[in-house]
């Protein structure tokens, strides 16, 4: 099926829509207009309608949008109805936090394994998943149909390992290392650069105190 190219600006807003629609659902609200939703979310109604229309119309003139239907449709657009196996490489604090923490399962992500080259953590368990040594990595990825790799290792380790991961057929990297990864077209990298986020915070504090 041909898909028109959707801008990353739109895609970045989808999870937020999804979150708000989930809340509306929990509140038992059945329908909502772009106007009402725009007031809740602090965006323009026009943007909401434009965004949704990138994927075809989900609403009805004179009525608005059915919350439950829209929620499900956005979930589908986001691919949350699909299952993906993932592993975490790096069993340090952050890796363990992610292993324990997120509602991965609810989003269709299945936690299959965890790897680390530190002997002290190998063998330990995180949410019922054993930490394995890095020697087993490539074999494990191939044998277990791993689509997604979460990288919570230092910059240089990430750079060393990335080509192997691509060769093993990994489809996407959720990258927490403070480095830009160079991958072939078709492999998806989603970066979470915490350090960058903190610097933005820092900038905004400085700017505000200068202005006041």
């Amino acid at each position: 099926m041909e898909t028109r190219e959707i801008s990353q600006a739109v895609i970045s807003r989808l999870p937020r829509y999804y979150r708000y629609l989930g809340e509306l659902k929990d509140e038992g609200i059945e329908r909502i207009s772009s106007q009402e939703l725009s007031e809740r979310m602090n965006v323009t109604a026009s943007q909401i309608r434009q965004d949704f229309n990138n994927f075809g119309g989900f609403g009805q003139q004179g009525y608005g949008y059915n919350v439950d239907y829209l929620y499900k449709e956005i979930g589908k657009i986001l691919g949350l109805d699909q299952k993906h196996n993932f592993i975490i490489i790096g069993a340090g604090n952050l890796g363990r936090a992610l292993g324990n923490y997120l509602n991965f399962e609810k989003r269709g992500f299945i936690f299959k394994g965890m790897f680390d080259n530190n002997d002290e953590v190998v063998g330990k368990e995180v949410r019922g998943v054993k930490v394995m040594p890095m020697d087993n990595l490539d074999e494990f990825i191939r044998a277990n149909n791993i689509d997604i790799v979460v990288l919570t290792i230092p910059k240089n380790s990430a750079l060393n390992i990335i080509d192997n991961l691509v060769e093993d057929g990994v489809k996407a990297i959720w990258n927490f290392a403070h480095v830009d990864l160079d991958v072939p077209e078709g492999v998806i990298v989603e970066n979470v650069h915490l350090s960058d986020s903190l610097m933005k915070l820092s900038y905004n504090i400085s700017r505000y105190s200068k202005e006041h």
Copy 2:
């Protein structure tokens, strides 16, 4: 001093420039042209020059930019030369990961305290900082000149606590809770919505597999 309004698009790029300039410095490179930097970073030279010129000229015609100088100047723009005390609320996996993990100190952020309302973790230490009960929170913030609060607690706890934090005079929130916080103008919120990031990843996987 009057500061012209800089767009968030520009600000979001500053940490990345800072990172690359740090690497250049480590490699012992003294000067770089916008052209060379653009090739490394995969952005246009034009954008680089425009971005830097938002803050006044840092380069020299016919020469380019002095790496060391530019690095320092961007650091100043980002406010990394200033000191800020911060605390972490929520001593779960993620809170502990952040407490242990980041080069906070290198960026001028001083880790002063950690709070949790779970008796089992109260009293434990993270990087030499004791986990305190939530009852002490407001007093501690006021007594210790806390500028920044890192929120690694669930959505509802974050919503319950936010007004108090603002009243206590907190300047900025680094928010890891999956919720948009409503704060008065002047209080800075920097969100890290991990769940949103994961959904973006999910979308891009689905889209790619549809297209191929």
